[in-house]
């Protein structure tokens, strides 16, 4: 699971609503998988990123050199874009958990795949 994916995930436990975002990330196994750098692609992703969630997740993974937010003229800032590329696309959580901040419900990440299924009792009716 990439951090860009984590940035989209939210808990859908009944009653939680928007307080289910972001999920608290813990990892027991993390890998770095190189991905071809595409500056245009990364630049276009930047406006879609929820920064606080990204920073929190990166912090839990103890990642260094994570930009705190978009810099002025970031579209042309290759250093910035390369860092964001790395953080969003190259860091893979292989084994870990995602926890709903409101309900405490834990979702597992196994072999890089988050399992977000809930029981019938837990879901919205």
């Amino acid at each position: 699971m990439k951090l860009l994916t984590h940035n989209l995930l939210s808990s859908h436990v009944r009653g939680v609503g928007p307080r289910g975002f972001p999920l608290r990330l813990e990892a027991t196994e993390v890998r770095v998988i190189p991905v071809e750098f595409n500056p245009d692609f990364v630049a276009r992703m930047i406006p879609k990123v929820e920064w606080a969630a990204l920073l929190e997740a990166a912090d839990h993974l103890r990642l260094a050199e994570v930009p705190k937010g978009p810099t002025q003229g970031y579209e042309q800032d290759e250093t910035f874009l390369r860092k964001m590329h790395h953080v969003l696309l190259e860091v893979e959580v292989v084994e870990g958990t995602l926890q709903c901040p409101e309900s405490g419900r834990v979702f597992p990440i196994t072999r890089g795949i988050p399992n977000m299924l809930l029981n019938e009792e837990e879901t919205e009716t």
């Binding site: 989209l8 692609f41 276009r44 988050p114 399992n115 019938e120």
Partner: protein
């Protein structure tokens, strides 16, 4: 009602896909052109979700976008993951995403697996929720109206032949076979009985179809029809008569009727929890069905098909051609040998067929090994649709054979206009941009309306 719906879907959608997922990994297909186009039309840097991604065949169509695949079925998701896709396991009815995260979403062959209208609406609303305003959603569902076939009802159970899959899988690993398995996973049913002789392979009516390239290219073959074959075989060489009963019924499905099939199904896989559900509203679909959207059960062909129907027609043509001249060893050895990598050996038609057919194959005389192979090929062609199961007569069929092979999948097939109506009346946050029919599917592209304030 919702609980029963969930139970039905568990038994006849989720459990089936879970059990059969491992057979799908080698039977990957390419993407449907129009879905491909939709994905390629998205802006570079877009965030795309494929809800119901299966083995992930659409996730790498456009390298300029970031695609996330989701599926309820863990084994399918594992396969997608092994191909390097970013995927997760989740439920379409409760998408674990924040609002307005995705620029585009595709839902290909998914909504038709929900067993109530409310659940179908909910699935669509969930996808609308996680779309950005102005973002587009593409939905494909099976159509009830098929060009040459007829669904009895809108709620159907479709059989799936597992043994066939494993056979396809092992055959596909033969040299020369492999590329033929790289076919698109299709989501539409195959030919229905034609008006002339109820023959499942009759492509007489397809001559006028724009899509039947192979038919257009080979007018001579196009005129071939099961009726002709029956005549010839019955009168002349008697070949047709030497075929086993179940094999004959593959050609002409007159012997098959829904109640016969239902008896079989009910004997073997009683719908325990869903009895009330099934008996009142669902019909067992006896007609040949290609497996679905995510089922890459393609008939084999020597060349890449432009559509399922073409492939099926072409394979049928070849077979019919062969039937017409069974003694022509040259023809038998024609392209069949190149296609099948297997030596004749003791291989017969696979466990779905009786010894009868093997004997029949043997009785062809000249070109025997090829004949056997060709027969097997034919059976696999239609068997991808679980036709042999459908056409095995009730009498004389061992229940346990049926039992171990039947995985019934639930579908709600859509009438023309139904999907559009569903969106218009229930999902006001979406605006329909276009709709149409593609290979037996009703498809829609809708846009999330801009929010005001």
């Amino acid at each position: 009602m919702d609980h029963e719906a969930a139970q039905l879907e568990k038994q006849h959608v989720h459990d089936v896909y879970e059990s059969t997922a491992r057979y799908l990994s080698d039977l990957q297909g390419k993407a449907w052109p129009r879905v491909r186009q939709f994905l390629q039309d998205q802006e570079p840097g877009s965030l795309i979700a494929d809800i119901g991604c299966g083995t992930g065949k659409y996730l790498k169509v456009n390298s300029q976008v970031h695609s996330l695949g989701c599926d309820y079925c863990g084994p399918l998701v594992e396969i997608a993951r092994s191909r390097g896709c970013e995927v997760m396991v989740c439920d379409n009815l409760n998408l674990p995403f924040r609002d307005q995260g995705f620029d585009a979403i595709i839902s290909i062959g998914v909504i038709h697996h929900f067993s109530t209208k409310q659940r179908r609406i909910r699935a669509i609303k969930e996808m609308a929720r996680v779309l950005v305003p102005g973002g587009q959603l593409m939905i494909y569902v099976w159509a009830m109206e098929q060009k040459n076939r007829h669904f009895e009802k809108q709620d159907v159970l479709v059989p799936w032949n597992r043994a066939l899959c494993s056979r396809l899988l092992s055959e596909s690993s033969q040299p020369g076979r492999k590329k033929q398995c790289g076919h698109l996973e299709r989501s539409h049913p195959y030919h229905p009985p034609c008006s002339v002789c109820s023959c499942s392979v009759c492509f007489k009516e397809r001559r006028d179809s724009k899509r039947s390239h192979s038919v257009d290219d080979e007018p001579v073959r196009a005129r071939t029809c099961c009726a002709n074959i029956s005549k010839e075989a019955g009168g002349g060489n008697g070949f047709y008569n030497t075929l086993g009963k179940s094999f004959r019924s593959w050609f002409c499905s007159r012997s098959l009727d829904e109640s016969g099939l239902r008896k079989q199904i009910e004997r073997v896989r009683p719908l325990k929890n869903t009895e009330g559900w099934a008996t009142s509203t669902i019909s067992i679909q006896p007609s040949r069905h290609s497996s679905v959207d995510r089922d890459p059960q393609e008939p084999f062909s020597t060349r890449e098909p432009s559509s399922d129907e073409d492939v099926f027609v072409e394979s049928s043509q070849k077979h019919l051609e062969w039937l017409r001249a069974p003694a022509t060893g040259k023809h038998l050895r024609g392209d069949r040998q190149g296609e099948t990598g297997r030596s004749g050996g003791g291989d017969c038609l696979g466990s779905t067929h009786t010894q009868e057919e093997c004997a029949a194959a043997g009785a062809l005389g000249e070109g025997k090994p090829s004949a056997r192979r060709a027969l097997r090929r034919v059976s696999t062609v239609d068997s991808t649709d679980s036709i042999p199961d459908d056409t095995i007569p009730v009498e004389g069929q061992q229940p346990d054979v049926w039992d171990s092979r039947a995985f019934m999948r639930y579908y709600h097939v859509f009438r023309e206009g139904e999907l559009c109506g569903l969106l218009r009346e229930n999902v006001s946050e979406l605006h329909i941009l276009s709709s149409g029919n593609d290979h037996g599917n009703w498809c829609i592209i809708a846009e999330k309306k801009e929010t005001c304030g």
